[in-house]
Symmetry: C2
Subunit: 114 residues, 2 copies
């Protein structure tokens, strides 16, 4: 989910890679959906991409206009609660990186002709 | 797959997000495995994280010591062939971003005591 016309670099990324515990799938799913909704309303939010495979390994990358926008989202009260629950219940481990995107390329397959 | 003791930022990331076509799972799987092996032998390679979900959405983030290491890997002949096959067969779309990682945090669940 990126807007149709994403901004040009530079912008910022939060790369969140994690391994889920095997517990509380329902609570986790609810919180993950809620955090996506909330993030999308934050100032400076540009989009998010996410995948989790059947071993429980997942990567979510969210994109932001500035480091200040990222900091504000990190401190959001409801998000802070979810972060704490993540450490208590949902994640075996995670790594979070903040990065500045400097180049971007994209490819889309031409539609099959008719 | 990151080394046990990853380097301190700053280092660089290639964020590759893609949607697979539904064709040639076998060829794709073989090439993906081979590219992981090859990448791991390149100068400046620091690690890679990858997940693909059951909708075919995937994210692979590889980490590198410098932009020059990323450029060299992009131009590797066998990798260049795989990139071309990716556009011809394996991907509906992809987006590739190059980013400089400036901050990193990690969490690991304490082992259950015995």
């Amino acid at each position: 989910m990126m807007s149709e016309d994403p901004p040009r670099p530079p912008y910022f990324a939060v790369i969140f890679s994690s391994l889920r515990t095997e517990s509380d799938n329902e609570g986790y799913g609810r919180a993950a959906e809620r955090m996506m909704e909330l993030a999308a309303r934050q100032p400076g939010f540009l989009g998010v991409e996410s995948a989790r495979d059947d071993r429980g390994e997942g990567i979510t990358v969210s994109y932001w206009r500035s480091l200040e926008d990222i900091r504000r989202w990190k401190l959001d009260a409801e998000h802070a609660t979810a972060q704490r629950q993540g450490r208590e219940r949902w994640y075996e481990r995670y790594r979070l990186r903040i990065a500045q995107v400097t180049e971007e390329y994209s490819f889309a397959r031409p539609k099959a002709g008719g």
